[in-house]
Symmetry: C2
């Protein structure tokens, strides 16, 4: 087997034993597996050849990128790992057409940099941007902090290239904004977590780079006062808010505990800390006036000053420069790290209607003290999307207890009309939620599609779709 893989990718690009072991580790530190081998292809043709070989050998295949996923989607025992670090090229940035053509192994922050060099942005962003790769964030339809304005990953993808479970290459790398020619295989593969094929390249949408950002931290007493504030700023700016992130007081405290060199956002502590960012495009908003002030920044200062005066908020700091802006973002983006302050945890990545986030939190906190008295939580939220990361630190590391915690949170989410899986994907960690909560007819249709495209069940088997009961 190893020889056959080596014949495709070259001996140096097949890893086994101790060399392959890191690919069995999970970033969460909670799970482990032992892959049969790791192959590092350099081209789509090599990926195709590897998958054809996997078919011959009946060898399960898991594609991996930056391996920063949080739902146990990228590890498995006895599998062939396809690692895309050698297919990391940004093939082309076409500024006029506003598209980037990238390989599956391209790193998100490299795409950010390449776009910015052309005065454009690829707006998808989240904490793991320095390691996450195209195949991974497309495979999981990653969300992040700018979804409010720009949508999820799938909204930013014009085309893909992929290798299907039988090894055939499909070229759907359209850079067009209108293309209705049969079923949308692009959207089917995006978010399928490697279970229907392997994405090898993508054509991404780029957006004009805002000419100026206005970024601020806001301290306030009540979460219910935050949403009206978002709505007012949206109305006043014509929808320019890029991010509206919620950090409870406990989170900012935990962050400093983790990073003692860093500071709290304010001298005083506040129950509710909001990071707001506005991205302005029109020259009228971005070009400094006679006073040297950038209009959109001055505008945000004015509005927050007014809110302070009215007593609607308790504190506010507008970033005066890029360093201050980055400091605000570093705090928010440390959420995954902060969660690791405790060695075992239950990550609930849920979405509820915007106006029900406070209700969700109150009911979940109460439920936790019932299900596991003494447990603790770490919470952050993309408040503008209703997307809450509700991480529970249970009192003991017990699988049954963890599932009970997950189920209790789901009960509340479903009751509020929400989703048990917002932006991280399903992997293996949420199979029980899928079995409990997903519309049965939808699950049956997914299983039929999986069986039709991957009859040997070789593509990331055991992920996304729960086993049929009984």
């Amino acid at each position: 087997m190893i020889d056959q893989i080596a014949a495709i990718v070259g001996p140096k690009n097949v890893l086994t034993g101790a060399d392959a072991a890191p690919y069995g580790e999970d970033i969460t530190g909670m799970w482990q597996a032992t892959p049969a081998a790791v192959a590092r292809p350099a081209s789509t043709q090599e990926v195709s050849d590897l998958i054809k070989l996997a078919n011959t050998l009946r060898l399960p295949v898991i594609p991996v990128g930056g391996r920063s996923g949080l739902t146990r989607g990228g590890i498995g025992d006895g599998v062939l790992i396809l690692s895309f670090e050698r297919m990391a090229a940004i093939r082309e940035i076409r500024p006029e057409a506003r598209i980037a053509v990238v390989e599956a192994g391209a790193i998100l922050s490299d795409i950010h940099d390449a776009a910015e060099a052309q005065n454009l942005v690829f707006p998808l962003t989240f904490g793991a941007k320095g390691s996450a790769r195209v195949g991974g964030f497309l495979g999981t339809n990653a969300g992040g902090s700018n979804v409010l304005r720009y949508g999820n990953t799938r909204d930013l993808v014009l085309g893909i290239e992929a290798v299907l479970p039988d090894g055939q290459i499909v070229d759907l790398m359209s850079g067009l904004h209108k293309n209705n020619s049969g079923y949308d295989l692009r959207h089917l593969l995006i978010g399928s977590e490697g279970t229907l094929g392997v994405i090898t390249a993508a054509t991404l949408k780029l957006m004009p780079k805002p000419g100026a950002y206005a970024t601020a931290m806001i301290g306030m007493a009540k979460l219910s006062d935050a949403l009206p504030l978002l709505n007012e700023v949206q109305k006043a700016t014509g929808g320019l808010v890029e991010a509206f992130e919620y950090m409870p007081d406990k989170f900012v405290g935990d962050y400093v505990r983790l990073n003692p060199a860093h500071k709290l956002p304010f001298d005083d502590r506040h129950p509710v800390n909001i990071l707001i960012e506005i991205g302005a495009l029109s020259p009228r908003d971005c070009e400094p006036g006679e006073d040297g002030q950038i209009p959109i920044v001055a505008y945000l200062e004015d509005i927050l000053g007014q809110y302070l005066e009215d007593g609607r908020i308790d504190d506010a700091i507008v970033a005066r420069n890029e360093a201050q802006r980055r400091e605000m973002w570093a705090r928010r983006e440390a959420a995954a790290e902060v969660a690791t302050l405790h060695p075992f945890r239950v990550t609930n990545d849920v979405a509820v209607p915007l106006d029900l986030v406070e209700t969700f939190l109150a009911r979940s906190d109460a439920a936790m003290q019932r299900v596991d008295p003494g447990s603790d939580t770490s919470v952050v939220a993309h408040l503008g999307d209703g997307n809450v990361h509700y991480t529970v630190w249970p009192t003991v590391n017990d699988a049954q207890l963890k599932d009970a915690i997950m189920e209790a949170v789901e009960d509340i989410v479903i009751d509020l009309g929400g989703s048990f899986s917002a932006e991280h994907g399903v992997g293996e960690a949420k199979l029980s939620s899928m079995a409990r909560r997903k519309d049965p007819a939808a699950l049956a249709a997914m299983r039929a599609i999986k069986a039709a495209l991957d009859p040997l069940n070789l593509m990331n088997p055991g992920k996304v779709l729960p086993p049929i009961e009984g």
Copy 2:
């Protein structure tokens, strides 16, 4: 059979013979069929029961809405037509969440009106808006004039409810902006033209209603000068352009020929006529100044005045009121009607990269004089999307000649990196194009999905997927 259908929908809601005949007619006037019967269900449960009955009887099913499609997607011989005129409710507009919950038979312009009443818009729009229904525009992933700013239909749909080919109802009516829980069946069904199931309801995204529109007609000599103008206005306004539509001189002449009561856009004729519309959101752009002028309108007047002075454009009229704005739009939206000036035609709905529209037109015109000397054309384009409606009026009504025309246009489109099917869908009219041009591995995957979900091939059979050759 009729009795069994009547038992589900009631005798008054089954049509046969002469009553069913209109459902065999096609809006293009080019095609005809004879359905076995027409059923008009009043609920999702009735749709489910009808599809279960169709399974028992092995009866093919075609769902229809406003029947304004242009690719022969909604007619068939010996089929059961499901017509959604009795499921036309706009169930709910939730202004805070910015969503509309609608049934499959709701008419697009009714949704427009219901949204506007809440100071919101559902931005999808096209000529047939007064007849097109939800199931039809989702089924075909319709495009239209505002895609430039808001995307295609699929970008405006948060959730759907559908009946699958086995009669099961899937409820995916999420109103959430983040929801990663398995394969995206929503995007699979949108654009599948009724071949994978029947959409019965949808949760649509609404957008804030622009506080002011600035709309203008621009006359100019060369199409190649239009795109830089679009880019400049986008930059200056921060991306507020909603529509950028191209009408050649011949089109505006044909429009007046069809509607003698209507006027040409300018006193003089110009080779290139552009309809541009800007939708402004922020109060700074929308609220009348001391001079009574709306800032965004004054801004467009200024910039066009400057272009006139510089000789970059030859004529411009900014709409002074809603009546003038509507007149500009009526001309553009008459395109489908204008095409019927000739009793038979080839409708090419293609997309090319934005900067290649002029090249496409020059090469296609030359090709037509080779393939069918003496043929004529009717052209309009969503220039901001690179989407051209290139209608050919051949010299004779011959199927082989028409296919040769289609193939010649495709050759040029593919050579320019474009799509042979931009926004109208495939239906039956473009099966030959699908067979010739679609990636074979993608076609094979589509066929596998179709066979898995609809093993009896009862859902709009013969549409979208070309028959396997040989």
